[in-house]
């Protein structure tokens, strides 16, 4: 099989990629390992999706369905579900090997977009010690069992990590009749969105224990309890360890991008996101290989994921036609208050603007985000608050962009 653009992953990012690549005139193959499109959205039956994209508050499956409708009957897009990519290599074009229930599939593509999302960090990854009983789930795994299979996972639940999935599962399990003893967070503030904290924990009387972690677990066959201990000056204080009886532990302790498929390419790593560095086209350092969605960086909102997808899809289509302008590459520099930027590189090209998003090292209030190029300020945006963890999106007008670019954060001076 031959195609212009191959998109791997049929979740929100992949569907947007396929749509946008086809809009830009490319032939597209979209492969998805599950039997249907939608990815993790299918198990996210809560609402809050699509506020930016569709101006509506949709559930995950509804949001996925909207996108599915956009691409399903598009003649330029071939959708292959139950197809699992095992290998990508490259000559002039990319050669992709996959398997599905019909056999072994070979696809030759001019450009490839990776939109495989993330996986959850398991218990082993956080050095959770103690025994290894049943009843320990990653939050997403629990979500799949409860929402897709209609099965209950336990009666008395402790949740470690206050990421959004953890918060949403806390509420979900209470609604299904479980007791959620508490959510434990190693950091000193809630990891999830403020609205999830309010709607999932506060509204359901679920306690959130900050600067506290689960140190080890107990139980031979099924979990019987977990030990929690506070952090003092960033270190676990084992003397204050306390046993909390429970039969279920959910882990919402972070996501890892699924980047292993292309480890044979010599791509520039990007330690901040545990993924690869990309330019403004969301192209990695391997020409024609693009990233989109959570595989590139973990997003708070699915709408941003779709947005990435549209950028990557368009870029991949242009690349396939040989029209991607990569002549004047500029590495984005920034001050230390900005942890990292996506993209890492932008171009001085004919595009009028570029979307640059970043995360900061801590919470800031009343600041200016400024962009300087060749010692000239080319943008200055006022921001009331930016929390750490939250992604800030800067739409940079590139007309005055010169040979370099520096982003910084400036406190607003309050006149006395």
């Amino acid at each position: 099989m031959k195609t212009d653009v191959l998109v791997i992953g049929g979740g929100p990012a992949g569907m947007a990629c396929a749509f946008s690549a086809a809009q830009n005139g490319a032939s597209v193959i979209l492969v998805e390992r599950e039997y249907r499109l939608g990815g993790i959205l299918n198990q996210c039956i809560h609402n809050g999706f699509g506020l930016h994209y569709f101006n509506e508050e949709l559930s995950g499956p509804e949001y996925a369905y909207r996108w599915q409708q956009k691409i399903e009957n598009n003649k330029k897009i071939k959708i292959m579900c139950s197809t699992y990519v095992t290998k990508i290599t490259r000559g002039v074009n990319f050669f992709v090997e996959a398997t599905n229930p019909e056999g072994v599939v070979n696809i030759e593509a001019k450009s490839v977009i990776l939109a495989m999302g993330c996986r959850e960090r398991p218990a082993g990854a956080i050095n959770l010690t103690g025994t290894r009983p049943a009843g320990i789930f990653t939050a997403g795994c629990a979500q799949a069992i409860v929402n897709l299979q209609g099965k209950m996972i336990g009666k008395k639940v402790v949740i470690l990590g206050s990421g959004d999935i953890g918060l949403i599962m806390a509420r979900r399990l209470v609604c299904e009749g479980a007791q959620v003893v508490g959510v434990f967070e190693i950091m000193d503030k809630c990891g999830g969105l403020a609205r999830n904290y309010t709607q999932c924990l506060q509204d359901f009387n679920i306690p959130l224990h900050l600067s506290t972690t689960i140190t080890r677990v107990k139980g031979t066959k099924r979990l019987t309890g977990v030990y929690a201990a506070p952090l003092i000056n960033g270190k676990v204080d084992y003397t204050q360890e306390k046993l909390i009886p429970c039969d279920t532990l959910l882990l919402s302790v972070g996501l890892t991008p699924e980047i292993e498929l292309v480890s044979n390419f010599n791509l520039e790593q990007y330690p901040f996101t545990k993924s690869y560095a990309v330019d403004e086209y969301l192209q990695t350092t391997e020409p024609g290989l693009f990233l989109a969605g959570n595989i590139m960086q973990v997003n708070d909102l699915v709408d941003n994921v779709s947005n990435d997808g549209e950028i990557a899809g368009k870029s991949a289509a242009l690349y396939a036609k040989g029209k991607l302008d990569i002549t004047q590459k500029i590495e984005i520099a920034h001050d230390s208050s900005i942890r990292y930027t996506i993209p890492k590189y932008i171009y001085k090209n004919n595009e009028k603007s570029a979307r640059i998003c970043f995360r900061t090292d801590k919470e800031y209030r009343r600041i200016f985000v400024t962009a300087t190029s060749n010692k000239k300020q080319i943008a200055k945006n006022y921001v009331i608050t930016i929390t750490n963890g939250q992604i800030y999106n800067l739409n940079l007008n590139k007309q005055n962009l010169n040979k370099n670019l520096f982003l910084s954060i400036e406190q607003q001076k309050i006149q006395e």
């Binding site: 390992r33 139950s82 699992y84 095992t86 090997e97 398997t99 599905n100 229930p101 019909e102 056999g103 072994v104 996986r119 959850e120 398991p122 218990a123 082993g124 990854a125 050095n127 959770l128 010690t129 103690g130 025994t131 290894r132 009983p133 049943a134 009843g135 789930f137 990653t138 997403g140 795994c141 799949a144 069992i145 409860v146 897709l148 299979q149 209609g150 099965k151 209950m152 996972i153 336990g154 009666k155 209470v174 609604c175 299904e176 009749g177 479980a178 007791q179 509204d203 359901f204 009387n205 140190t215 080890r216 031979t220 066959k221 099924r222 084992y238 890892t256 292993e260 480890s263």
Partner: protein, 506 residues
């Protein structure tokens, strides 16, 4: 098992389905002996065997003339052929024991001891040659004792294959048969199971072999045998890292051994993961928990030998308990009970020694009058392992059965077809962990986040049991408890409190 009539009468009963028990089982079944293997848990290979480094030791470590030395060498020489016969992986990688310049004398002692034990090909490698073998060794590690006959296997794959081989040769395996009483009357043993869900409440046998590993002393006590002196239980804790670090070490790398054991090994598995451990922590017999201190200890110790690997790639911590009785294996026939044999203190190098121990025990039984038949043993049928097939072979397989094209575990690339194969295998796995040990779903970097819901479905469907009965590792470790909306009591209470608060606020 439900379709067949449950069999109760056997010539030989083996208690314990670890590596020693299954090796004896396969050895006897291949001689046409009517044999039963009694395993307390839901699957064989579930005790010390599964939490093992998987090293086939070359044999330079045990004290000369000990049983350990004898069986180690004999066993190591049998392993390659045995693995070939069983169609399981045998990775001929050799082993290294390394040290800085200060350890030269000790390494030389080991070399000499190895020669005395009859280990072939031992040599000391130094500096550049050593670092060429293992590029991630620390720079101050300049000496290594290279043992080319050392190898790696997957301990649970070997153990399961041995049990299956016994079954295809006419043997019976009863899992969930936790022995709690042995009656000896008229030269016949009646062995009773503890749990009501055992496949049968008792079995009769003329010969009984106790291979119960860490529980072997408890089993001996059932016949009134005294507890030997110098019994200790030692826990071995491990860290396992993701396959993406494959090649970080190329063979097991031991530090110089100490009195406590062979030390913390920088090791790998036959499937390409990096395996670091074991510790040697004194513990209770059934304590397989991992402690934070031990993990820190592994990290520290490993870094003395090799450059610090990326511990961010840790995917699992685990531990196993080995029993130690004095400094050697105890493999004996009992004087007070005719035709009762026991193996105690089978710690390292137990995995390596198992095939030789099996032969030794078989010979004892024959000496004591066991009748064997001269049959041509059948071979165990291996299952297709998709990861090892060429594209053409894979395509052919999928065309014949589309289930091989449906990937269930994406980290380890395991298809639905492979899982269904083993759900129909001679020794049906009934738990997620048992499936994981055979074909590796949920063994990878996501540790089952994506595939466990699917595995629950498959087990439920193919073993025809409700999802609530699917377990992680045997009865009591059920994963899902009911349909949703069954446990409303707490929710109602919670909602009532919230409503009350809301109304008082107003």
């Amino acid at each position: 098992m439900s379709t067949k009539q449950v069999k109760n009468n056997f010539e030989v009963a083996i208690i314990g389905g670890g590596i020693v028990g299954t090796a004896v089982f396969s050895e006897l079944c291949r001689l046409g002996v009517n044999c039963v293997l009694l395993e307390a848990s839901e699957d064989v290979s579930n005790g010390s065997t599964k939490a093992n480094s998987g090293i086939v030791h070359s044999g330079y470590d045990p004290t000369p003339n000990s049983l350990m030395a004898k069986f180690n060498i004999l066993g190591a020489n049998m392993y390659e052929d045995m693995c070939k016969r069983l169609s399981v992986t045998y990775l001929k990688c050799g082993t290294l024991t390394v040290s800085n310049e200060e350890g030269r004398q000790k390494l030389n002692d080991l070399l000499n001891r190895g020669k005395q034990n009859g280990v072939k090909g031992l040599k000391i490698v130094e500096n550049k040659e050593l670092h060429k073998l293992e590029p991630n060794l620390n720079s101050d590690i300049t000496l290594g004792l290279y043992a080319p006959t050392g190898a790696l296997v997957s301990p649970y794959n070997v153990c399961v294959a041995l049990a299956e081989e016994g079954i295809v040769n006419g043997g019976t395996v009863y899992c969930y048969f936790n022995v709690n009483k042995i009656k000896y009357q008229n030269q016949l043993y009646t062995i009773y199971a503890k749990e009501s869900y055992a496949p049968t409440p008792f079995v009769n046998a003329k010969y009984v072999i106790n291979c119960a590993g860490a529980n072997a002393i408890e089993v001996n006590k059932l016949l009134g045998l005294p507890e030997p002196q110098n019994v200790s239980y030692v826990k071995g804790e491990y860290i396992i890292l993701d396959k993406s670090l494959k090649g970080y070490v190329n063979r097991p790398i031991f530090p110089l051994p100490t009195a406590m054991g062979k030390g913390i090994v920088s090791n790998l598995t036959v499937h390409g993961n990096i395996l670091l451990g074991p510790t040697a922590t004194p513990c209770q017999k059934d304590d397989v928990s991992v402690s934070t201190d031990s993990i820190a200890q592994i990290v520290d110790k490993v870094c003395l030998t090799i450059k610090k690997p990326n511990f961010g790639k840790t995917i699992k911590l685990f531990a196993g308990v080995r029993a130690k009785v004095g400094n050697d294996f105890v493999i004996e026939r009992d004087n007070t009970h005719k035709n009762y044999y026991y193996t105690l203190g089978i710690c390292s190098p137990g995995l390596t020694s198992a095939p030789a121990i099996a032969v030794y025990i078989k010979d004892m039984l024959i000496e004591d009058g066991l009748k064997t038949k001269n049959i041509t043993p059948k071979k165990r049928k291996p299952y297709p392992e998709l990861a090892t097939l060429s594209r053409q072979e894979l395509n052919k397989l999928i065309k014949a059965n589309p289930q091989y094209g449906r990937i269930i575990c994406k980290c380890e690339n395991v298809s639905e077809g492979e899982i269904i194969d083993i759900l129909n295998s001679p020794l049906k796995p009934t738990s997620i962990d048992a499936i994981k040990r055979r074909v590796r779903p949920s063994m990878g970097r996501c540790q089952g986040s994506f595939c466990i819901p699917k595995l629950i479905n498959l087990i439920s469907q193919y073993l025809n049991i409700p999802k609530e009965k699917v377990t992680l590792n045997g009865i009591g470790s059920e994963i899902v408890i009911s349909d949703i909306k069954q446990y409303g009591y707490y929710a109602r209470k919670q909602i009532n409190t919230v409503l009350k608060q809301v109304s008082t606020k107003k």
